[in-house]
Every structure is written in C-alpha cells, then in structure tokens.
Amino acid sequence: MDKSAGGDITGLLEQWRNGDRAVEARIVDAVYGELHQIAQRYARRERRGHSLQATALVNEAYVRLVARRSSWKNRAQFFGVAATLMRRILIDHARRSRAGKRGDGIAHVALDDELLDRAARANLSATNLDDVIAVDEALTRLAAVDGRQGRIVELRFFAGMTSKEIAEVLGIGERTVDREWAIAQAWLYVELRKRPEPPAA
C-alpha cells in the first residue's frame, strides 16, 4: 500500500464512522495491505540480524493507521474495524494450523505465515484453535439470525473489547450489550454442542 492509499484509509474510516457500512470490506483489505507491507519490512530487517516481534508489527500498523491520523483518533472505533480483521486473520491461521500446512489457497492472506505461527504459539493452543474455528462458524450462523448480536460477539470475542467500548461503537446501552452477550454465549454454545464429536479412540 502506498502513501496515497494511506490517505484513502482515512477517508474510508470517516465514511465508515458516518454510517457507511459498505466500505468496511475495503478498510479491512487496506489494513491487511499495511500489515503485509510492514511484515515484509520486518522480515528484511530480520535477515540483517534484528529479531522480529509480532507485537511490534501490529503496533506499528496501529500507529500508522490510527494514531497519526487526526481524523481517526478513537481507539474503540478502530477496534470496531479491527474486529473483523482480527477474526479473519485468526481464523485463517487457525485453519492452516489445523490443516498442518501453509498457504492452502486462502488467497487474501498476505501476512507472513511464520509471523502468525509465532504469534499463535505464544497465546493459543491447538485445542483452543479448534474451538475458535467452531465459534467462528457458529458466529456466522448467529449473524445471519441476529446481526447485532453477531457484531457484539465479534467485538467481544475477537477484538476483546469491553462492554463499554462496544456500547460506544454500536451506539447502544452498556446493559443491552451485556444482555446480548450473555444470550449469544448460550446460543453459540448450543450450536457448538451440535458439532460431531470425534469418536473415542
């Protein structure tokens, strides 16, 4: 992504903030591009003897895209966009990790595999990954039934936002968020239990 695209992002974010949900996919793609570019740069730097840290990578993306753009200061709202992105990155990673192979045709994933692997090793176990995938699939079904609930789960589960932050992003009351999150958990869990259990070995 070049500099002018950075300018585009600011505009897109503005549109998104003003209620144009249609631009979301484009924002996500743009953030992906940024992450990819930074990852490449870090990868090159690593070859010169510096070490690569996923934290530094994403922080840098965050700083570039968010903190430095005056029209886009609200951290909570950034996470609103980032939730979709994080969900996608996480699920792509989990799927590939489960499949035990790298780059199995999920074409839009541009991030360095190794990076994702490292990040995941730091925080998630293999069993968790299976559950994350199952939650993702159930969440897609939930979002089809109840869009707002789906959004809340995404913000909460995949972006780790607090009820307060979610309330702010969605423009609803904090108690509503709590209530919806509670019922969504129960609903998702019922869905997850429908998973075929692997036969006992």
């Binding site: 559950d131 780790g160 692997p198």
Partner: protein, 936 residues
C-alpha cells in the same frame, strides 16, 4: 428475518434476561409463568438457560482479550510522535513498544553527539509524585554504579512537560537491538541445557556484578533479559531494569503490600509474603528463570523441579536455588552457577556426545540416530497374544520392483513394501514369532537381495515383490488403476535358500490395497492372526494410494543419504492424503517425520526450527488421533531430538516403549536421550534390557557395544560387536564399529583387515574414512590419503571426512590440495558453528583447523571459548593439546594432554596422533605417559 420471527426472538431475549439471574427453581417458575402452554417457545428459552453456565465456562477458557493478545494489540497509541523533542534533549526516532511501566522509544540524545538511547516513560502516578521521582533518581544513581557488559546501562531520569502542562517522567538507558528471553522462549520453546548454560552464565555474571556493588534487582524475569546478537556465533545477554523493582507495576506484576513489586513465578516466597527484595530473592529468581529456560514454564515450588526430566546437576542446583527458606537456599548467584555446571559423579563425559569431532569417526553410531522409523497404517484388531515357543524370525521386506519405470511407480512399489512392513509389524506384539526389519534399515545398508538381507541385517526370511499392471483377463484388468502384486518368500537362514512360488494379488481400483497384500503375506508366513481392518478409520483408496507413494518418496529421501527433492515429493503426497482424510493419523505422523528429515538436511545452513515445530504439530495430531501407536510417539520425540531437546523427547519415547517394546527407534533413542541428560545408568539399563529381550538382534548388541566402547570398556564392547557380527556379518555399521574398537585398542592390522573386508562388500565412505585413519595412526600417510580421497569422493558434504583428507595432504606435504580441502572443511565447520554457536566440540574442531592453516590467533581465541564452554569435555581437552602443539606452545599442550588423560581420554590418539609426533620425543611427555594409568 420477518417481523414475526423478530418479535419472537425479542421475547426469547427478554425472558432469558429475566430468568437468567434466578436460581434453578426460580427459572422454572418464571418459564412456567411466561410461556403459558407454548411448549416450543419454552423449550427454546430453557435450552439457552440450561446451557448458559457451561457456555460461560467455555468462553472463560480463552484468555481475556485473547485475539488482541494474539495480534499484539494491547497498547494504546504512543504518547510521543516521531520527531518530538523530549525534555529539551531527546529527539524521538520511533516507538518501540509498550512495556510494563510505560512506553519505550528509540531516541537521539542531542547533547551527546546524537547517541541513540532507549527512552522509557513512567506511569502517571510516578510522574506526578516528586518524592517518587527523587527516590527513583537515587535508585538509578545506585544502579548506574554497576558497570558490566551484561548489565543494561542506565543514563538519566528526567521530566517532560507536555503542551497541556502535565509532567511526564521518563528515563533513558542503553538501546538494545534484540529480543527478550521471554520472547525467545515463546518463539522457540524451551532450550536445551547446553544452549541455556551460556545464557544462565551471563545472567549470573550480571547479578553478581550488581550484588557486589550493593544493588539488588528485585524483579528478575525473562522479560528483563535481552539477547543482543553480537558476533555471528554469539549473543550478548543484557539484564535490564536493575533497581526498578519497586516501581515496575507490569501487568503481570503484583504488589505485595507496599514493600515492592515483583512477578509471581519468579518471586521468592519471602518476597511474596511481604519482604523486600534481597540478594537471596535474586538467587531464587535466577533459579526460576533458569528453570523456565529449559522447561518453558516458571516453576511453582520445588515439587515441579522433581517432576521434570532434566540433567541431574541442573536438578540439584535448581532445587537448591528454589529452596523456600532463604537461609538454606543456595547462598549466592555464583554458588548457583557452580552447582549448575558441576559434573555429577555418574556422568561419564565420553558417553555424553557422539560427536563428529572425534577424529576417528563413529559416524555409524550417528546413522541410526535418526532411526529407521516405520509408520503404521491402521490399528490392528484381533490376536489372543498366545506365546509361541522357539525363537523369533527376522523378516525383511525388500523394496518391491515396479514394472512401470516412472518415478511415481517406483515410489509406489517402494512405499508398498515399507507400509507392508509397518502393517505386519503391528501384529508382532500378538504374534511374537516374527520381527520385521525396518524398511529404512534396508536402504541404509544398501540391501537389495535376500541373501544380503541375511548377511547384513540378520534376516531369516526375505520377502520380494513386484508391481505390474493387472493382466487383461482379470476383473478390472487393463484399467488404469488396476495392479497385480506378485510376492515371493525366501527362507534365507537355511544353508540352501528356499523360495516359495510367487503368489499374485490382483488389485482393482476402488479397493484398499494394503489389507489385501498384507493378508496374503501373513498367510504365506503362516502368521497368526491375520489382519483385520477397522473400517471406520481406514482411509479411502485414493488417500491410501497417495500415502503409499509418499512413503516411497520418504524412504528414497531418507537413505542412503538425505535427498531433499524426494522429501518434498513426500510432503506433497502426505499433505494430499491428509487433505483427503484429516483423521488419517499415519499420514500426519509420516508428514512430521518428513519435516524432521528436511530439517536434518538443511540444519547446517539454516536454523529453520520452524520445520521442527511443524513436525511436532503433526506428530501430536497423529498421537491424538491414534493414541495407541508407539511409532507416532517416536516421531514426536524425533522432532525434539533433532535439535537436542532430550528432556522433551524422553517422555514420548517412554510412552512409545510402553506401547510397544519393539517400537523402532524407541529404545536406542531413549538410551541416547538418557545419556545426553547425564542419566548414564538408565541408558545402560535400557540397552542391556534390549540385548536381554532380543539376544539375536545385531543392532541391540551394537548399541550396547558403542556405550561400552565410549566408556573405555573395550573387552565388553568387543563381545557385543562380535555378537553383532555373528548375526549380521556384512552390515557396514557392524564392520565399522568393530574396526573402530580395534583401532582404539591399537590393533591396527585387525582394524585394516575388517575394513578391507567391509569395503569389498560395500564401498562406503565411512569405512574408507576409518581405514584412512587406521593408516594415519600407523604413519602410513600415502595409504591414508588414498583411502580418505575415496571417502571424500563418496561423501562430498561430510566435513569430518574433508578435514581428514586435508590433514592427510598436509602430512604428505601436498600443500595445494591441502589448501583447497582446508578451505572446504573450514567453511563447513563455520556453518556448523553458526547453527550451534555454543557447541564446544564444534568450536574446538574449528580452532584445530585454524591452527593447521597457520591462523594461530584465531585458533587460540576459539579454543579458549571451547574450553570455557565445556571445561570437562575430554575431547575438547585433547583437541586443545593439538592446537597448542601446532601453535608451538609445548607447555600448554603437555598440560592439556595431562588433563585429557586424567579425564580418561583413550591412549591410542595420544600415542599415535601424527600431529603429536614431535611432542612425543619430549622428555616431559615420556614422564607424563609413564605416570598415566589407563586402567580401563
């Protein structure tokens, strides 16, 4: 969603929210009231309520904000922008990250010739508190007195007043370009004690320097240890945040009632109980960090130390350092370090490592280090396990021939023989009359005929096979997927080899191949029981085909030498098989095994431990899917053994042996892993049991013989090697080991005779290498050079062989050839060193090469490092004697020799090594030898 559904959903939500806070009885009452006979509605809400508690538990298993942690998005935007001028002195270059206390930036110090520093901000409560700032300044002033290469330098504490008028305190320190130990451990997992020791040494040096200056760290943990690459071969370890413990309110830190801050897991019990940080609590923290470095997790009390499998000297040192009572705890950081490096009395340094540095190479010991492993297809059902009288028959399934000459067809034929071996091996537990020779052993020894299988591998029965297109008059014959497998059984232990007439198995597309073929072979061998296939876990025919072909590529890629192209084909096949059936455990395991081999093939040039992570993941998946197959646990262990993580491998190997005492690669690798973790007694016990259980197994005798040889117990070693020769007279490993023994006992003629016999059978580079050295020790340099030239031609990559050849050229004064060979050997040794920078034997070997090529300065530097890294290693001591002698330091050379003799170094090298010819005329040497007692 239409309006009616929406209204209904809304009602469900309301009722759920109303009933959720109630107890079970209250929930039922609320549902009864609200549902009024609408059972479907009631059911919907009740199901959600019933599952709510489990749901909460389920979601609680994910760490809070796990996705944000995953992506590292836990910090807010940095306070300072790039280019900002802070405190009128520092220009911000970039944001580095957010740590426990605040943010960290790279900044330029405009007062000090634009030196780059790390600038760390302090939390707001500190910034607002002038007393806190003053105290911090005093603490930092104290910490600044510690000047040590392993201690991060701290410069200044200052305040920045922002445009809003609010002060923000910050301090500056040395800028370190590296990663923290915490990040390293997260990335690479636990380190071996060999890799960890130099790191712990540097940590101890930092803490000792501080303690000497009267400074206590107080919050020593992996996050405060930074690894900075310095030279290509080494890292500088730097401990940060000295004396800041009282202020460091990191998210993972806790307050202990105002006395200070620390991090649970690294905090001594008395510190957790409210005591301030002391030297003793730093000792505890160092022991905790050392523990985490080799296990991946911080300890919780001494009980966890007891529970892990680790080098005994580490175990006792860590137990002493983690003592809950500060009075009985190891007294100082230095004492803890000494305890860590103490050599326990049971450990015999000879047996610690079968290294390539040994001038007379024991490479055959290494060939099976990556053991010939087999994968098994399906769990076997049936078999009453009745014991059968009489001895077991060794069965070798030779690689099948393919009528079709394409590489894919050849791989399929070879893979079919290998999978057949796997499959038939699974029944040997219940049908103990047969023991199958692993497919890889056949390839490694170049066995391709029934008679050679008998002579080289002790096989009583050999099975040969051939894969053709099915004849057109058979059902499905002539169709693309149809095949005919023809099998012959050869009784080769009888004086006259007996061949049963070939039997045909016709295979048609859409049917599984292996059950048909293995049942036929079982019938021919009169094996009992026959094989039943568990239908629900068997793969589909298409998946089976890919798997079998993959196995063929894997075997071809494994031996006689690792072939990356074949292995990559194997990866593609196994991935395809897994794609077709994700529950196909054998394919996961085989993929894991292939990754380990790929790592082996590239480890000298790249440290791609990622391959080992992938291998580990595949093996774990295979074990999860089929937890009863011993081989899958062996594969998992191989992923750990490949880069020396012996402690991790041990539990997997033990599990494999419990499942199947004959599991290929389990017993020998477990013995080696015990030996490498200084559990020599257990290693010995393992190998002795192997011989007792399988008295006719040549490999069991060889393994035990090598252990005896490495301990200098030559007589017992010879008995085992001769047993090995009795059962497998033509096996190159058997021949080589026996010749090595003869060389070491100075029976050079016998060694030469044995090696000549072996070379007449197989032109093997290791045999040539060992023959060359047998000549060198006798002073027959021209013969030695000729033999090593053969070895080098056959083994162009082997740095030990190349170094030997270079030495030969030097001794016969063929300088031009020597120069070229040394250049190759040195660059190979350098590659080895960059992959394993703290390996003392590699360092010593490189030092020797430098001293031979006249670079005495470099040689002395490296040998110093080697001796420092492994002060007890006798091979390193002996090599240092060579280096000193070649740099004309006779006195040092004599001392090193004395030290090597005291450590039990075998006499033959000292008495016959060509580079010690001049030294042996020295009267001091004569005295030294006269006093030496080679007791064993």
């Amino acid at each position: 969603m239409n309006d009616r559904t929406a209204a209904r959903t809304e009602r469900i939500k309301e009722l759920f929210a109303a009933a959720m806070p109630l107890d079970p009885a209250g929930r039922i009452a609320a549902l009864d009231r609200a549902c009024a006979g609408d059972q479907q509605f009631r059911q919907a809400v009740a199901s959600l309520l019933d599952n709510y508690d489990s749901a909460q538990q389920f979601f609680a298993q994910f760490p809070d904000n796990f996705a944000r942690q995953f992506l590292g998005l836990t910090a807010g935007p940095p306070t300072f922008a790039t280019g900002a001028l802070i405190g009128g002195r520092f220009r911000i270059i970039g944001f580095l990250g957010a740590g426990g206390m605040g943010e960290v930036y790279e900044a330029e110090d405009l007062f000090l010739a634009s030196e780059h520093v790390a600038l760390k901000t302090l939390p707001a409560d500190v910034s607002d508190d002038s007393h806190a700032i003053d105290r911090l300044k005093r603490e930092l002033a104290l910490a600044r007195q510690v000047t040590h290469v392993n201690v991060c330098r701290v410069f200044d504490v200052d305040q920045h007043v922002s445009s809003s008028g609010r002060p923000l305190a910050f301090f500056t320190m040395e800028l370190l370009a590296g990663e923290t130990l915490r990040a390293r451990l997260q990335r690479e997992g636990p380190l071996s004690t060999t890799v960890a020791l130099p790191l712990v040494r540097q940590m101890a040096a930092a803490l000792t320097a501080a303690h000497t200056a009267g400074v206590v760290h107080g919050d020593f943990k992996p996050g405060n240890v930074v690894l900075v690459p310095s030279t290509p071969a080494a890292e500088r370890l730097v401990v940060t945040d000295f004396g800041l413990a009282r202020r460091d309110a990191a998210p993972d830190s806790v307050s202990n009632g105002g006395a200070g801050w620390g991090t649970p897991g690294y905090m001594a019990p008395e510190q957790l109980a409210g005591g301030g940080p002391t030297r003793a609590s730093d000792v505890y923290a160092l022991a905790a960090v050392a523990f985490e470095t080799v296990t991946g997790k911080p300890p919780s009390g001494t009980a966890t130390v007891d529970a892990i499998s680790i080098d005994p000297s580490w175990r006792s040192a860590l137990l002493g350092g983690l003592d809950a009572n500060p009075k009985t705890r190891v007294a100082s950081v230095d004492a803890l370090l000494r305890a860590l490096t103490a050599v326990p009395p049971t450990a015999n340094p000879h047996w610690r490592r079968a290294a390539a540095v040994a001038v007379l190479s024991l490479i055959f010991f290494g060939v099976l280090l990556l053991p010939p492993v087999r994968a098994r297809l399906w769990p076997t059902i049936g078999g009453d396990g009745a014991a059968v009288a009489g001895r077991r028959q060794n069965v070798a399934v030779l690689a099948f021939e393919a009528a079709d000459r394409t590489p894919a067809a050849a791989a399929y034929a070879r893979g079919l023989a290998a999978t057949l071996t796997d499959q038939l091996s699974t029944v040997t537990r219940d049908e103990p009359r047969h023991l199958f020779v692993p497919a890889a052993a056949l390839l490694a020894t170049g066995v391709n005929t029934p008679v050679r299988a008998n002579r080289a591998l002790g096989a009583d029965v050999a099975i040969t096979g051939r894969v053709d297109r099915a004849p057109t008059d058979r059902p499905g014959g002539g169709e693309p997927g149809s095949r005919r497998v023809t099998i012959e059984v050869h009784e080769v232990s009888a004086p006259q080899s007996v061949v049963t007439p070939g039997r045909h198995v016709d295979l048609v597309e859409g049917k599984l191949v292996l059950p048909l073929v293995s049942n036929e072979v079982a019938r021919m061998l009169a094996m009992r029981p026959t094989i039943a296939v568990a239908g629900n876990t068997a793969p589909s025919p298409a998946v089976e085909e890919r798997y079998i072909r993959g196995r063929g590529y894997l075997e071809q890629g494994r031996a006689p030498r690792i072939d990356v192209a074949q292995l990559e084909l194997a990866v593609a096949e196994f991935e395809g098989a897994i794609e077709g059936d994700r529950r196909f455990a054998a394919a996961h395991a085989a993929l894991g095994e292939t990754f380990v081999l790929l790592y082996e093939a590239t480890k000298d040039t790249r440290r791609n431990t990622e391959l080992l992570d992938l291998a580990e993941q595949r093996a774990i998946e295979a074990c999860r899917l089929e937890p009863k197959i011993a081989h899958f646990f062996v594969v998992r262990a191989l992923a750990y053994l490949a880069n020396g993580r012996h402690s991790l491998a041990i539990p997997s190997l033990e599990a494999a042996l419990r499942l199947d005492p004959d599991a290929v690669g389990a017993r020998d690798n477990l013995a080696r892993a015990y030996a490498a973790t200084a559990q020599a007694a257990r290693a010995e016990q393992m190998l002795e049991q192997g011989v007792n259980d399988r008295p006719r197994s040549w490999s069991a005798h060889e393994d035990l013989g090598v252990l005896r040889l490495n301990r200098g117990q030559y007589r017992i070693a010879e008995i085992h090697f001769l047993k090995g020769r009795e059962y497998a007279p033509d096996n190159p490993r058997v021949i080589s080991n026996l010749a090595v023994l003869y060389t070491m006992t100075e029976l050079f003629d016998a060694a030469e005779q044995e090696l000549q016999r072996g070379l007449a059978l197989t032109p093997d580079p290791i045999l040539y290498n060992n023959l060359g050295w047998a000549y060198f020790y006798q002073g027959r340099f021209a013969d030695g050079v000729a033999s090593l030239k053969h070895a080098a031609d056959l083994s162009t990559e082997n740095s030990v062989v190349l170094a030997g050849l270079a030495r030969g050229y030097r001794w016969v004064n063929r300088q031009r050839e020597a120069r070229a060979a040394y250049a190759v050997a040195i660059s190979a040794a350098k590659r080895q060193l960059s992959a394993d920078p703290s390996n003392a034997e590699v360092l010593a070997n490189l030092a020797y090469l430098y001293s031979e090529t006249g670079e005495q300065g470099e040689a002395r530097r490296l040998i110093g490092r080697a001796l420092q890294a492994a002060p007890e290693n006798v091979r390193v001591k002996f090599t240092s004697a060579l280096v000193f002698e070649l740099s004309s330091q006779r006195q040092a050379a004599l001392q090193a020799l004395q030290s090597a003799i005291d450590g039990g170094h075998p006499k033959y090298q000292i008495a016959h090594h060509p580079d010690l010819r001049a030294l042996r005329t020295d009267s001091r040497y004569v005295q030294l030898i006269a006093a030496a007692a080679w007791t064993r």
